[in-house]
Subunit: 165 residues, 6 copies
């Protein structure tokens, strides 16, 4: 069984992420979405919340499971038996960073390869940080995050705004 | 009347910004310079100070006004009746970021378009953060910020240095 | 009256070009589409044919005229009284080339500035050469070139195929 | 059965190509290497010769077959039942071109996706044209093309040199 | 005597840095490695520690000395009599940033030029931050930092981990 | 004695080339400008003419000699005893190509290193092909090529124009 790992912060999952998940899951038998527990990034959503949002978005997809990890991506990949890491590519600066990460991961664990999907054109401007910025000021997030989680993102905005007061 | 919006942090206005302001103001009937009130960026100058510096630099220009905003750029653009957002482009990484912002802005408000000017070659290395770095160590800022505000930048350096002691 | 020049080879006009024409024409009072007579590029369509296709596509647009030129773009811009050259930007390699051309044009004729529009996301993969490649092999060109000229492109393909035999 | 298509000119196959073939073949059940019959590129080797060189290099690999095509890549992909097109990525300019091609291919045939592998660091400077340039002047091609085809490349050089005289 | 300055944070020195040091030192009579005292970057190692690690790595190299500075790079360059600043280039985003810095440095001090070496392919993915990330999670750092300092990096990890508890 | 090689087509030498020659010659004891005899590029000037133009431009420079070569750059570098190849960098696409060439050259001849200078801002848009394009249409070439060779470029234009008639 071919197992793929799609690692990321997913704070929160966007329509761009969902697009990669759908396409990657048709390439492997099982796709593990690995939510990175990275305290340095000051996420809006906790790891548990981000996993919950991903589960809402992927609940009807076959062969897709949601998990979390900290530490090196290749260590988690080996633990779950992944033979391939999946990443989305959007822009040139993405590409250079991702290329560097793929090379160091290959050095650390030659048995896991990295494959890239390019984001579909209609999601080329979509990112978690853009979605949060638009949501923060009450803009229209319908082209940015999946329908299942829009209320969660709006609720989180209200909650964060209260915390500031 | 064609109204343009030139949004930015302007902390402080540089010779590169002034170049774009002059060129953009000849393209529209009225150019609004919108100072972004972005607390996340830890600016050296307050929004009011940044507006004051911009007013010094543009006081002899026809059809140029200085304003401030927080929230989404397109919301402010709609409020002031702008039909076009103006941005300067310097480097490839600038370009990618600006392209993404232009696309999300177009999605949020299709009635406002974004046009880009490329920075003149003599200002291609000029940025607010470079100007502050040079000023901080007493370097020559004459090719970086307009003459009208050089003393303000030097005074701010002395003031910030005192604060650290 | 503000006059803009949109120069290019237009062999043939694409949906991406049409998008730029519509947006640029709302920025200036008159937009001149300048078809470059560049024998070096081995075009499929003659200058006259390319102008005719552009006229079909723009016939209902106000303030848009089609012309042709050879020589330097700024010389033609000065001849028609243009104050601004309009260009579309798609990718990073576009950007660098366009930046270089804008800088040399500015040096040759400082009174004409260059402004850039970024291609709308849905046309980000569209170019004249891609349209010709797809048409040549009988692929679907409906998302690539305007409806008014699709039959012309298909007819040209048949004509070129005959010429080869 | 998952079928992948690795299209290219392969004039001739390099160590970089071989690296992608090995890695891609482990991702799919059958990998078809599709040699593009592109007369415009003035190849050194005929389509038949390029297929023969690829067969030498891949003769011990399971699930790898060599074929040729002209026309649109997605048309060939559909003909052989491919669900995925495989491409290697080396540099930023590669990336932009490949992204554009992937987008047009997706538009022409949404049922075929494109995945990218990034070239291993030790082959990051390897290309068919570099290999030909080095071979032409008698340089050392051992880090550029697979051992099985080095004599073929040297023989082709001698043959082409004779043709010039 | 031609003196070169190789400025950087070196937190800690990597195999990529050592590669540049060896190559640059053969270009000048004396190479000064200037450790930047940049408090803003939250380094793992103090300036003194970083200098000590560099001394371990360069102790057998002729004409290489280690020093530290704060302030503008060109001011330090002038103080030590350098005629050339040496920098390594890895990726496109590196290049743009480095180009901008070289241009501002040239403006501030025209007598000092900047020359660039490109990182050797085998170190193209190596950086201080990658080395720290791998070390933090107990990964293999042998292809990332010189042998002489591997124990120092591991010891620092243990020390920092204790500090968090 | 440190010998540097500055290889190129120089069809013709530009102000950008001259800038690199001046700066590179201060880094080495002897700088050899190597004019590449590359028939594939359809140069305006013959190898002898290009060498003659370079000699005019460099006649007052100490330690600069003009030579020509065909074949691999590193072979010529070894023949003249060069320890370093000098190249100018202008844009991102330049950088990628140059990086690839530096890597293959390093593989072919590890004893010769490549160092890069970045073009001064005032020459960032200057290239031989731009100079020829401007000259061809009678534009102002004074900011593009050195004064010593302007008449030669104009004369060549007239000569080529006659050849076409």
């Amino acid at each position: 069984m071919k197992i793929g790992l799609y690692p990321g912060t997913f704070d929160p999952v966007t329509l761009g992420h969902r697009d990669i998940i759908i396409r990657a899951s048709s390439l492997v038998d099982k796709l593990v979405i690995g939510v990175l527990n990275n305290s340095a990034k000051n996420p809006w959503f906790s790891v548990e919340e981000r996993m919950e949002l991903l589960r809402k978005v992927t609940k009807d997809m076959q062969g897709v499971v949601v998990d979390s990890f900290d530490g090196l991506t290749v260590d988690f990949g080996n633990k779950i038996g992944a033979s391939v890491i999946v990443r989305g590519l959007r822009a040139v600066t993405d590409f250079e960073y991702e290329l560097q990460i793929a090379q160091i991961n290959h050095r650390l664990s030659p048995n896991i390869d990295t494959v890239f999907f390019t984001t579909s054109v209609e999601y080329s401007y979509v990112s978690s940080s853009i979605a949060k910025e638009v949501a923060k000021y009450g803009g229209d997030i319908s082209g940015l995050v999946p329908e299942e989680i829009r209320d969660d993102l709006r609720a989180k905005c209200r909650q964060l705004a209260k915390g500031v007061q």
